[in-house]
């Protein structure tokens, strides 16, 4: 069975600092990987996804994630965060459309 582990439940950082949110998955077959973001009192939004091809994927707001098959990881990074990046971030794994399995989430708190 697939599972997702987000290694940090809370990550506090200062504005303009770099950040990495860690995600590891377990699966015996090829998977698709996703990061979703949930801003306070809002719905779930897709941040980025890895389906195939280049192992480095980027979002439009400066986040990137790298698929590492040997380490079964899909860590999310941003070189310089903003206050507006404060949100809950969820890593999720999917086996070709069978349903998303979510990690427990990481709360990113950005302060000035």
């Amino acid at each position: 069975a697939q599972s997702v582990t987000q290694l940090d439940s809370q990550v506090p950082v200062f504005e303009e600092a770099p950040v990495e949110l860690r995600c590891n998955y377990s699966s015996s077959v090829s998977v698709y990987l996703f990061w979703y973001v949930q801003y306070p009192n809002q719905g779930l939004q897709l941040l980025l996804k890895y389906l195939s091809g280049s192992t480095l994927v980027e979002s439009i707001n400066g986040f990137e994630a790298e698929f590492n098959k040997s380490q079964t990881s899909f860590h999310l990074r941003k070189p310089s965060v903003h206050i507006s990046d404060t949100a809950e971030y969820f890593c999720a794994v999917d086996q070709a459309g069978t349903a998303l399995i979510f990690g427990k989430g990481t709360t990113l708190s950005v302060s000035s």
Binding site: F34, L44, L51, T98, A99, L100, I101, K104, G105
Partner: protein
């Protein structure tokens, strides 16, 4: 990507009653999924609903408590039956779009049971 209309957006219900949540998709989809997000928690898959067959429930969820209907390829309902305060959560539906290689989520139903 598909657009999902989910209703109601929120409700406050008395314990012992039932609430039916509806999801309407603007295109035909084979699989629809129902999730629960308890306060401060991640999303947990309740069941997968395919048109024309019984829904497949995840461990810890049963049809008597969460009956699901899937009458066609654009619509599904989830009923939360005989509610208790522990059922207070956000319930979300989701669809998979092979063309986009990803999932779309409804805006969620925030349920409070008193």
């Amino acid at each position: 990507s598909a657009v999902i209309s989910q209703k109601p957006s929120r409700d406050i219900c008395q314990r012992g009653t039932s609430l039916t949540i509806q999801c309407q998709v603007d295109s035909q989809v084979t699989m629809m999924f129902w999730y629960r997000q308890q306060p401060g928690q991640s999303l947990t898959l309740i069941a997968t609903a395919n048109q024309g067959s019984e829904a497949t429930y995840e461990s810890g969820f049963v049809i008597d408590k969460f009956p699901i209907s899937r009458p066609n390829l654009t619509f599904s309902t989830l009923t939360v039956s005989n509610m208790s305060p522990e059922d207070s959560s956000i319930y979300l539906c989701s669809v998979y779009s092979p063309r986009q290689g990803g999932y779309t989520f409804g805006s969620g139903t925030r349920l409070t049971v008193v």
